[in-house]
Symmetry: C2
Subunit: 104 residues, 2 copies
C-alpha cells in the first residue's frame, strides 16, 4: 500500500480565509500522521473549468491506515465542524498517487 | 513566481481509461516543460463528497510561463481534443502551491 493523498477542493463563503488557513496549518503541524501538506488558491484558472472553486488543500499520508486514523483524530473532527460552516461547496477526492514523472 | 500546479479532476465516461492514461504519460514524458506528473484514481473517498469524480491528474511546472507554454504546445492541444471526448465532467484548478509541511 502506497502513500495516500487527500485532496480537498472548496469554494469558501465570504469568510476570513486567513483564520481557516491558520487553523489548518496548526492541524497539519500538530498531527504527526500528516506527512506533508500543501495548499493553494486559484491562480487564473479557466473560469468555466474551475467552476467557482477558490482553494485547494492536499495532504499526504504514509498509507491508508494513517489517513483513517487522521480522520477520526479529535483535533480533525473539531476542525471539520468549523470548516464545514465556512464553505459553499466542496469536492473531496482520496487517491493513491502514481508518480509518472518526478523532478530530477 | 513559484511552481505552478495544474490540477484536473474528472469523471470518465465508459471509455478505455488505460488508453487515455498511456497518452497522458507520453505527453508528460515528451514535453520537457512538465516538471513532474502524478495521477490517481479514487481510493474509497466519501461517496457524497467525491461527487462522482473518478480520476485526478496533477502536473507541476517550474513557473507560470512554462505552464502557459505547455497549454499552447501542439501535442497538448491534440491530446485535449481526445481527452474532452472521454470525460463526463471536469474541474480544472491551477494554483501556486504553498508548502506548509514537507516530508522529512
Amino acid at each position: 500500500m502506497g502513500e495516500l493523498k487527500h485532496l480537498v477542493l472548496v469554494k469558501f463563503k465570504e469568510v476570513v480565509v486567513e483564520d481557516i488557513l491558520k487553523e489548518m496549518e496548526k492541524l497539519a503541524s500538530e498531527i504527526d500522521l500528516v506527512k506533508s501538506f500543501e495548499w493553494g488558491q486559484d491562480s487564473g484558472s479557466d473560469e468555466m473549468l474551475k467552476q467557482g472553486f477558490t482553494h485547494v488543500f492536499l495532504m499526504t499520508f504514509r498509507n491508508a491506515e494513517d489517513f483513517t486514523a487522521f480522520l477520526s483524530h479529535p483535533t480533525h473532527a473539531a476542525f471539520s465542524a468549523t470548516f464545514a460552516e465556512a464553505i459553499e461547496k466542496i469536492v473531496v477526492f482520496d487517491f493513491q498517487a502514481v508518480s509518472v514523472k518526478s523532478p530530477t
